[in-house]
């Protein structure tokens, strides 16, 4: 395994381009939960004519953007405790019902960041040992939502692969991830196997292979 210093890397997708790639895969009428980080940029890239409902774990279905300075309501926040707004058709529920929606499989997708994803779809995204532990709704989301899509950099700041054989960070869930979007490529899990489906513009299969520890197969279109 080659650990390449990628601090000067210029190939691949920017964080916004990762968000755009995910947004273009969302289907009209989906209700989705967005995690912090790259996923929060997704609403800006949802294509014209596609309606996506955003769910926030504190009990909001139909979350809208920040209401603008002067319009904040302390009784209406997103999951990050930031001021939010509602779109037409929004609904409010209590936290038990919110997690019934999440755990009960009533969302279409949850899109979140990750520290590591294993080749069997294990996810580690909630805790770096030695730091302050906090889990929020992450374990409920991955346990209940049928599409668990991860957005992350392909390698960490030290250049180490984040797509690994086995996660070394504490797990959020076992065999839960269904897609991974990175700056270099898009992977799907199909029948329990990690499959490379798409390369970012200018990225070669060899470039991805050198930066991926997990075993995967290639199924690139064209």
């Amino acid at each position: 395994m080659t650990y390449t210093d990628t601090s000067t890397q210029v190939v691949g997708r920017t964080r916004d381009e990762i968000a755009r790639a995910v947004a273009e895969d969302l289907e009209d009428g989906y209700t989705v939960n967005l995690g912090v980080g790259i996923p929060l940029a997704i609403p800006r890239f949802i294509p014209e004519g596609v309606t996506v409902f955003l769910q926030s774990e504190n009990g909001v279905l139909g979350l809208g953007p920040h209401p603008g300075a002067g319009n904040e309501d302390p009784d209406l926040t997103d999951a990050g405790k930031q001021p939010a707004s509602l779109i037409t058709g929004a609904a409010i529920v209590d936290s038990a019902t919110s997690f019934a929606i999440i755990r009960g499989g009533h969302l279409d997708a949850t899109i979140l960041g990750a520290l590591q994803v294993s080749e069997t779809g294990d996810l580690a995204n909630w805790y770096v040992p030695g730091r302050n532990p906090a889990v929020g709704g992450a374990m409920d989301l991955v346990a209940g939502v049928p599409r668990v899509w991860v957005c992350m950099e392909h390698v960490d700041r030290s250049g180490r692969p984040k797509l690994v054989r086995e996660c070394t960070f504490p797990l959020t869930g076992h065999r839960v991830v269904t897609r991974v979007y990175t700056d270099l490529a898009t992977f799907h899990f199909e029948d329990g196997r990690l499959v490379l489906k798409e390369l970012a513009p200018g990225v070669t299969p060899e470039y991805v292979r050198e930066r991926t520890e997990a075993a995967y197969v290639e199924d690139l279109a064209r």
Binding site: P74, S95, A96, T172
Partner: protein, 241 residues
């Protein structure tokens, strides 16, 4: 005629004993019953076990109780406050970290008379396998762990046994309440409040507006007064962002 309104809600709260278990509503500062939490400090209650989603990022409400050393254990999903973690790693406070949906369902179950339930959340993770430190020894090493949770397979999938919460007291905040204790919440400030109200054996509600019984239509009541024992005006200002 039922009248659960108390002119001095803090005085009524004096029935809370040091060492009590208390379920608290709120998500961050949204819907957090700050007047009741501050009254616990003012009444010098100690050794408390709080069931609450967040400690918060400031020194009001739960954060104040923590800073004043009044909390023995927090059962939470996302504490946030750095001073809370400092206390945890120094061995001064216990942390039972559980998934947010598990906390909500444990409150609901306890209030609904359900002793325990199986959830897929946290199966196969350190939040269910007995390796999460409940306490530290002050030297940076774990001193005790949250016990491993019973797991069982249903339809080939692992689920974790979680117990309903029956707290000695419930503390909630609502936008609107009547003298019978019927409550109505506003937008996402609802969050954990109805659940904390359900699972408290004695529940206190602070409200922004009090109306006469009958003024809230039966279809508009989010938490009926059967779950609420004492109601009073919130003294705390609405938190600013």
């Amino acid at each position: 005629m039922i009248d659960k309104f108390r002119d001095d809600l803090a005085e009524a709260l004096d029935v809370v004993w040091s060492g009590a278990t208390i379920a608290v509503g709120g998500f961050g500062s949204s819907g957090r019953p700050d007047a009741l939490l501050n009254a616990l400090s003012d009444l010098d209650k100690r050794d408390l076990h709080l069931y609450v989603n967040n400690v918060g990022d400031d020194f009001t409400g739960v954060g104040r109780l923590v800073r004043e050393g009044r909390v023995r254990r927090i059962t939470a999903s996302f504490p946030i406050l750095q001073e809370f973690y400092d206390d945890y790693f120094a061995g001064r406070i216990e942390l039972e970290l559980i998934p947010q949906g598990t906390l909500a369902e444990r409150m609901r179950a306890g209030g609904a008379g359900v002793a325990a339930f199986y959830t897929p959340s946290s199966a196969g993770t350190m939040l269910s396998d007995g390796t999460f430190p409940l306490t530290y020894d002050g030297e940076g090493q774990p001193a005790s762990f949250v016990p491993a949770k019973e797991t069982r397979q249903f339809n080939g999938r692992d689920y974790v046994l979680e117990y309903g919460i029956n707290a000695d007291f419930g503390l909630v905040k609502a936008q609107l309440g009547d003298r019978s204790g019927n409550l109505r919440f506003h937008l996402s400030a609802r969050n954990f409040n109805p659940l904390a109200g359900m699972c408290g054996r004695v529940t206190f509600a602070e409200v922004e507006q009090l109306v006469e019984t009958g003024d809230i239509g039966p279809d508009d009541i989010h938490l009926p007064g059967v779950f609420v024992d004492h109601i009073g005006m919130t003294a705390a200002p609405v938190p600013a962002h």
